[in-house]
Symmetry: C2
Subunit: 250 residues, 2 copies
Amino acid sequence: MLGVLGGMGPMATVDFLAKLVRATPAGRDQDHIPTLVCSAVDIPDRADAILGAGPDPLPAMRAALARLEAGGATRIAIPCNTAHHWHAALQAGTALPILHIVDAVAETLARTETETGIAAGTGGRVGLLATDGTLRTGLYRERLARRGLTCLGPDPEGQAAVAAAIRLVKAHRVAEARPLLEAQVRALAEAGCDRVVMACTEIPIALAGSDPSGRLVDATEALARACVAACRPDQRPACGAQTAALPRAA
Amino acid sequence: MLGVLGGMGPMATVDFLAKLVRATPAGRDQDHIPTLVCSAVDIPDRADAILGAGPDPLPAMRAALARLEAGGATRIAIPCNTAHHWHAALQAGTALPILHIVDAVAETLARTETETGIAAGTGGRVGLLATDGTLRTGLYRERLARRGLTCLGPDPEGQAAVAAAIRLVKAHRVAEARPLLEAQVRALAEAGCDRVVMACTEIPIALAGSDPSGRLVDATEALARACVAACRPDQRPACGAQTAALPRAA
């Protein structure tokens, strides 16, 4: 059973689950992927912690992972980019494989280059829309560099607008967030990025349907597709049978 | 922590979770309701079982409930109307309170009567768009009769169209489902129903944004609002703290 360590934020988790359902080839309920989701909304803010401005979220993430393990999950996805700063620490504490969102994005970048004919840009340059925390950790920069890609974030003023937009989405103010993000997509395109990764799960919620150029890469959707691939019917035993694995509750 | 016994179907569960997030007064992740969701997609079809045409879904529902209990849920919601045929059997097997979707709808009917001035119609008549199984069980008919309301379903041909529409939604063919359902809403209105309950969680997915008259009542949204009320900040201990309730996974 796929375990989803979610709630970072809660609507981003819902967006991920919708993309997981849509990405699954299915004609009836029983064709879908059995999933256990922990929307652990009280995990302290990840970006704040990275910037030294808030408590460590790792204990709360571990507690949520323990709930997923107790409930019978056999493979984990985390629909929050910034949380992947703690991917290695979480993986060290569990035998369950945890998919990595940046690897999923890298696979999408490689696949869409072939499909769309859009090259990775001058010097293989990829734009990043992400939290301050994700940019600070170098999560994408280091992992995409191994594939010969250079990451570029907005300038400081633009990055402040991205951070503000993310907070607006978390507060249900999606319509206000959208123009702030669209301006940064344009700025990154003008700076030579043929592709721009929406590397925070709040961002595709605001930019849904806003990509006539095919330039945007949705990290949430990339992770959903990676989950579908990992839980294909022929791989399904690795995701675990749904029923009868636990005794009936007293 | 709120436990969601879901996956019946998986997109209906996602729709419920989106409505839960939107119905929660929140300015940041930590204001939302900690939630554990089991998308138990291999639960046998509920409507088929009621009609004697498929296996009993109760054992698989109990197994999913056991996963939620093992993961730390303290209160349960089931975003599937037909599954409420087994509400009493599930409640008998657990100490956790299980909200009832028909009670949530009844509360919404009572509240919207006051807010919109739309009366319950001639003889308090309420239309029902539901699975054959839900209609057969009398789930809504009996529970709403206690509040002085009479339920009316489509005629046999209309009901066949509703059942076909539900299957289309489960197969991702939402656009084809919509006109089938709209025709039945019109037919029920012409039969004297001032309000029509979307009493299958697949139906609001197809009819989203399709209610200029304010006639439709969304059972999924009603259940989400009932969860928010049950998990208000002053009630939150009853929903359980998120972290530190389980030991860290080895």
